[in-house]
């Protein structure tokens, strides 16, 4: 990993100095032990701050969207970053020619306090970048240690009342900070429905009903395009089981309309919910 870190620093420096890119997106060390924080810089000198270790927990993949005014940017991309970039590209948020993707294989990231593999990384099926312009080091081919839909099946198996209690409890904890939305590479609306006062989709009160409205609608809005990076769940300050909602939609699409996993290549078909088959599953006769 230290080799990769060195390579990152020198490549970032080269790219900035040559003027090939106008900014670089990576990680730097935080104040505390085993803490990292995103580093987004246009200064070649600052590239020496770049780090790569087992605590680079942030998915950087949404940042190119904020940097469109900068022109071309370089980003260090593991599986999750690369899929986020594909998401942004297929949603026409950014342009391919404006992002230079430097791939890095990912061994999985760890919690800075417990040292344990992050849940999102245990569930990750694509640690290595699925798209890149160049690759630093070797792919890691880290297998997922958690069955993709195990959590969903576990919850589904619960009696209805228990499921209701489980999610009601979860929604009751939500503080509506919208970290899940803002970190999500699928959430790219210019104005989120929650902020649309005229339509009044939901009110501003924090209560279970409104939080449920927000939670379920968010799933309907992103579920079919979710790249399963698990960032929403990681950033949630209230530890809501957000991926168990997102993945439920993926699980159903998978079962209903065929094997489904988005953002694995640039020429992916349209989302399962914006297309149809005449002989789709019929339950509403």
């Amino acid at each position: 990993m230290s080799d990769i870190q060195e390579a990152m620093r020198s490549r970032a420096k080269e790219l900035l100095e040559s003027g090939e890119v106008n900014a670089v997106i990576g990680w730097e060390a935080g104040r505390f032990e085993n803490q990292t924080t995103p580093l987004i810089t246009s200064q070649a000198a600052k590239t020496q701050r770049l780090v790569f270790n087992e605590y680079c927990v942030n998915n950087l993949g949404k940042y190119p969207r904020d940097l469109t005014a900068k022109g071309k940017v370089a980003i260090f991309a593991r599986g999750c970053e690369s899929r986020a970039i594909i998401r942004l590209l297929s949603d026409e948020v950014i342009k391919r020619e404006n992002v230079y993707i430097i791939g890095i294989g990912c061994p999985g990231m760890r919690d800075r306090t417990t040292g344990e593999l992050l849940k999102k990384c245990a569930e990750c099926r694509h640690g290595d970048p699925v798209i890149y312009d160049e690759m630093l080091g070797e792919p890691q081919a880290k297998p997922a240690t958690q069955e993709r839909f195990a959590e969903i099946q576990k919850i589904e198996a619960l009696p209805r009342a228990e499921r209701e209690a489980y999610f009601t409890n979860a929604f009751s904890k939500c503080i509506r900070c919208y970290a899940c939305r803002n970190v999500c590479p699928c959430c790219t609306c210019r104005q989120c429905f929650v902020d649309q006062r005229r339509e009044g989709w939901l009110g501003k009160q924090n209560n279970i009903a409104e939080n449920r409205f927000y939670g379920l609608t968010r799933v309907m809005h992103v579920g079919d395009r979710c790249i399963e990076c698990g960032e929403c769940e990681r950033v949630c300050p209230m530890d809501l089981p957000l991926m168990s909602l997102n993945r439920k939609v993926i699980y159903d699409i998978n079962n209903l309309f065929g094997e489904y996993e988005t953002a694995l290549s640039l020429d992916e078909p349209p989302s399962a919910l914006t297309t149809y088959k005449v002989d789709d599953v019929e339950e509403f006769m």
Partner: protein, 153 residues
Amino acid sequence: MSMVETTPGAWEPKIVAFCCHWCTYTGADLAGLNRMNYPANVRVLRIPCSGRMNPQYALDALNKGCDGVLVCGCHPGDCHYSTGNYFARRRMLVFKRLLEYQGLEPERFQVRWISGAEAGKFRDTVTEVVEQVRALGPLHLNHELVLSGMEVE
């Protein structure tokens, strides 16, 4: 509210039916023409096509006091706009599963294809849904009412 007025004291289920203009709404009209009878608990909300059915309307209805939601459209293949109900079918399949997964009783959110000729099916569906929801009792999604300052039950 008005339901309570007619049968004081007794709870009556309140159900909103989102019906496409071209098929189900026509079928519901035909039920009227044929002087069929069905429970008055359903209020039909007309939309042009089941493809117009935004899941957010259903969430709003369930949040604010409906005990059940019914979504109806043309049979697949018969959509006036040719493909609207195909998209609706996919969306509703996923949405219904999501609602049930997070704890809603399946009976409270239902989808049916009812053609303009199927007055009987409209009557039967409405009757069935009302009875199923009646058996479940009131839906209290709103553990603290949206406006708990008013009408605290």
